[in-house]
């Protein structure tokens, strides 16, 4: 057991004198980024006819990228690479400084290479993004409270829909692999840090620069396209669209770096004796998720570069008038888009699989089936993208094959259910918050999965495509399953990340408000979809009044639950009960290190002799 006094301690605070590194932090990044952005903007603007949309797009896009570049320069991201150019590297003292040793809170605002700092940065960043996305969702539901409601104008409504969508997607992609993949995962595998600590800092701060860019969309007239940003609507759209394009390109760089880093860490830095069949299942799920993102996201980036070129340089990739095609965009988008939903889902599920054995005190049921399930989902997910295009009119003869691959995904998904049910079977689940999330997952994923089978079927999709039914379906999988898993992870690892226990009562209140509100919201939305209400509509006919009103009430319950969770996190982080080293009695390595986790995690490199699921009394 350890207490908060057992801090910093033995190491002297490094002091690399006169090094530029010590003078750079988030503040200098913001200043230099702003100078780059506005400097570029006013400089480029002066020579251009700003009444031409193409010139506006060009100036804005370049300014946004210059912001990102300037920020990274200002925070010191390029000092290391620059030293390499002149044949040197950071000194040992500088490296120790970058690792944040002995700097207290200020290290969270620096280009810090310690994986635990990056994990906390991701956690706070993700919570901020979810907060913004959730607020947008509340505004959407408020506008839909009754037909003809004039809470917001259609322009603002469409922007709300698009920004809610993309903010949530970005947040959900990193919600588990960001905080837990960086903070917990290296400790779990017995590593001293990530394989590429500087790239780790890079991935977070690059993602950070995308956030103001995305927010700027709001002030540039919003985005009219939804998060799918279909061309040619996106090519026609106003200046706010540039913010969307720039965000995705920046975000794709961040995820590529993070994905390569996590994958390399897991492949090369596992503790001695941690064979592949002894790796904790969260590590497997998180790695499959980020590894799946590596081939998937570049197509999104490419589609955005092409959109940017169509908007600025006069190319016609997506303009049918000149031989382009909107279908090309749809393909590029969904080749990313369908693996992407599993990039979101897998780590959430993996967290719940990690949690279940601990709270049931039984081994994970059929580790092999879990791996097969993950691998089957990841493998099939790259072959199903055109099920989003059944109704696009693009080659209807291929609808059959895509229906086959899509429905095959239900088989590995079934294995995921088997693993969790098998783990629960004949156990006495300890009803702590993470365990409740496992049950919430089973219900939500069941509904999400079954409705997914309807949607994958072409004749049913004839009716349901583009309706509220689809929206309800994917919220069941992404929010009901993946976010529930991430919240379980937050509660489960909160003691290790903050040294304190999450306030349990507030956690329960939040859980029930959120989950009950969730069922009400999306039951209403399933009904609205079955009744024939299209998605993404700012207004609707009177026949959908009841179902939409039910949905809005459910949304407010979720809002209440999420605010409670936020309060619980903030309050517990500051004043919660001090956590013991291993409050849940788990057997994975992260519970063997004290809080605060020392730099480089382990005094002595751990040696692994079995998998971490050795619970249970043996019986014949």
């Amino acid at each position: 057991m350890t207490t908060l006094e057992h801090q910093v301690g033995s190491h002297p605070i490094p002091n690399p004198q006169k090094s530029l590194i010590t003078k750079l932090h988030m503040g200098t990044g913001l200043v230099i980024g702003a100078i780059f952005a506005f400097g570029t903007y006013y400089w480029l603007r002066s020579g251009q006819d700003m009444t031409v949309a193409r010139n506006v797009n060009k100036v804005l896009l370049i300014s946004m990228f210059m912001w990102s570049f300037g920020f990274m320069l200002g925070i010191g991201a390029f000092i290391g690479p620059f030293r390499w150019l002149i044949g040197k590297d950071l000194t040992a003292e500088e490296q120790l400084f970058l690792a944040g040793e002995g700097q207290g809170v200020s290290r969270y605002f620096r280009y810090c290479t310690d994986h635990k700092v990056v994990g906390i940065q991701y956690l706070v960043g993700v919570m901020a993004m979810l907060g913004v996305g959730g607020t947008l969702a509340m505004m959407i539901r408020t506008n839909l409270i009754s037909p003809g409601s004039k809470f917001v104008t259609p322009v603002i409504y469409n922007s709300l829909v698009g920004l809610h969508g993309i903010t949530m997607i970005v947040a959900m992609i990193v919600v588990s692999t960001g905080p837990f993949g960086n903070f917990i995962l290296p400790i779990m595998i017995g590593a001293r840090d990530m394989a590429f600590p500087r790239l780790n800092a890079l991935s977070w701060w690059v993602l950070f620069t995308a956030i103001p860019v995305l927010c700027s969309a709001w002030f540039l007239g919003g985005i009219p396209t939804g998060w799918t940003a279909y061309a040619p609507l996106s090519v026609q759209a106003g200046p706010g669209m540039n913010a969307f394009v720039a965000t995705i390109i920046i975000f794709a760089i961040s995820t590529a770096v993070a994905g390569a880093n996590i994958t390399a860490t897991v492949v090369t830095m596992r503790a001695k004796g941690m064979k592949w069949n002894r790796v904790p299942i969260f590590v497997i799920g998180a790695t499959m998720s980020v590894a799946l993102a590596i081939p998937a996201f570049p197509t999104f980036m490419v589609s955005m570069i092409m959109t940017a070129l169509d908007r600025t340089a006069g190319t016609t990739y997506f303009d049918a008038n000149f031989g382009g095609s909107g279908w090309l965009y749809a393909h590029l988008f969904w080749i990313m888009g369908h693996p992407e939903v599993y990039v979101i889902l897998l780590p959430g599920v993996a967290i719940l699989m990690e949690v279940a054995p601990v709270f049931v005190r039984k081994p994970l049921f059929s580790y092999t089936a879990a791996i097969l399930g993950f691998a089957g989902i990841a493998g099939l997910s790259v072959l199903v993208w055109a099920h989003h295009m059944y109704m696009s009119g693009w080659l209807p003869m291929l609808n059959g094959p895509f229906m086959v691959t899509t429905e095959m995904i239900s088989v590995p998904t079934g294995l995921i259910f088997l693993v969790i049910l098998g783990t629960l079977w004949r156990g006495k689940p300890w009803m702590k918050l993470p365990m409740l999330s496992v049950y919430a997952f089973l219900w939500n994923m069941l509904i999400g999965g079954v409705t997914g089978v309807y949607l994958s079927d072409v004749p049913a999709d004839n009716y349901l495509h583009g309706s509220m039914y689809v929206t309800a379906h994917f919220h069941y999988t992404l929010m009901g399953a993946a976010l529930t898993g991430a919240i379980a992870g937050l509660v489960y690892w909160f003691p290790k990340m903050t040294g304190r226990m999450l306030n349990e009562r507030a956690g329960y209140i939040s859980f029930w408000f959120t989950q009950i509100g969730f069922q009400i919201l999306f039951l209403g939305m399933f009904i609205a979809g079955a009744e024939g209400q299209p998605r993404r509509v700012a207004d609707y006919a009177a026949v959908y009044r009841n179902s939409d009103r039910i949905s809005t009430m459910g949304a407010y319950l979720i809002g209440t639950g999420m605010i409670t969770l936020l309060w619980a996190v903030v309050h517990s982080w500051r004043k919660g009960a001090i956590a013991p080293m291993n409050p849940w009695g788990a057997k994975t390595l992260e519970w063997t290190v004290p809080f605060p986790v020392p730099l480089e995690n382990f005094d002595e490199a751990p040696i692994i002799t079995s998998d971490p699921y050795g619970y249970g009394r043996s019986e014949k």
Partner: protein, 266 residues
Amino acid sequence: MSSHDHEVEEVLPPTPGDRVITFLKRKDVVQSFVLGIFFTLVFVILGRDFYPKWMPTIMSTDMKANEALMVAFTYISAPVCGVVLGIATYTFLNRHTGDTPPEDGPAIRTNTPVVVVWGIVSSLMALLAIIWGLVELNVGSEAAASEARTAMVVEVTGSQWVWTFKYPAQGIETHELNLPIDQPVIFDVISSDVNHSFWPVQLGVKVDANRLQTTVVHTTPTKLGAIDVKCAELCGLYHAYMETTGQIMTAADFNNWVTAQGGHVA
């Protein structure tokens, strides 16, 4: 452990049949089974009632097939939901509360027959869904081929934010979609700007409207009454208001309407 072992040693090695019977008599199995049956029934009732209750009037052969398929899929998935929710609820009822962890449960690491059977059954169910869907698709395309000879053509144009219907054989152009009953109809759909999605709701068909690319969808209206036409693809500012209505009419009414619009009866 030891007392349990004694019991096993005293009796003869059980036959597979005995083991199945012993398994089925276990309290946890019986409980899960009863709960499973309960949840299966819940979903069967849900399947029977949900879509017929909430979906709009069936006004075409396609809509009828869509709804039948969704009802059937809910029936098929009902036992799956029953198994999952039955086991989950049974374990939930056995929960442990308090601030100390429960005792360890049995160390069941895997059970090969269960994994294999689970895999095979879920594969068969997926196969059933796949075959069903493919058969429906095939029926649909055969119907299209046979209807094509006698079908009436309507050229649908989506533009921000209005639907336009052109009846080439009748020589009229309108913003409301009126169709004669029991007459196969082919919609040639195109967009004059961004993507839209043509959705005559009660007819149960849908296809995107793309710029300079005609997409085709067909159906046969089978019931008289009003229909709604909506746009199912976000198309910009007034996407929500890009809707119109129409009527499925008797052939005589349709011809009168065509004449009143200044067209000629084909």
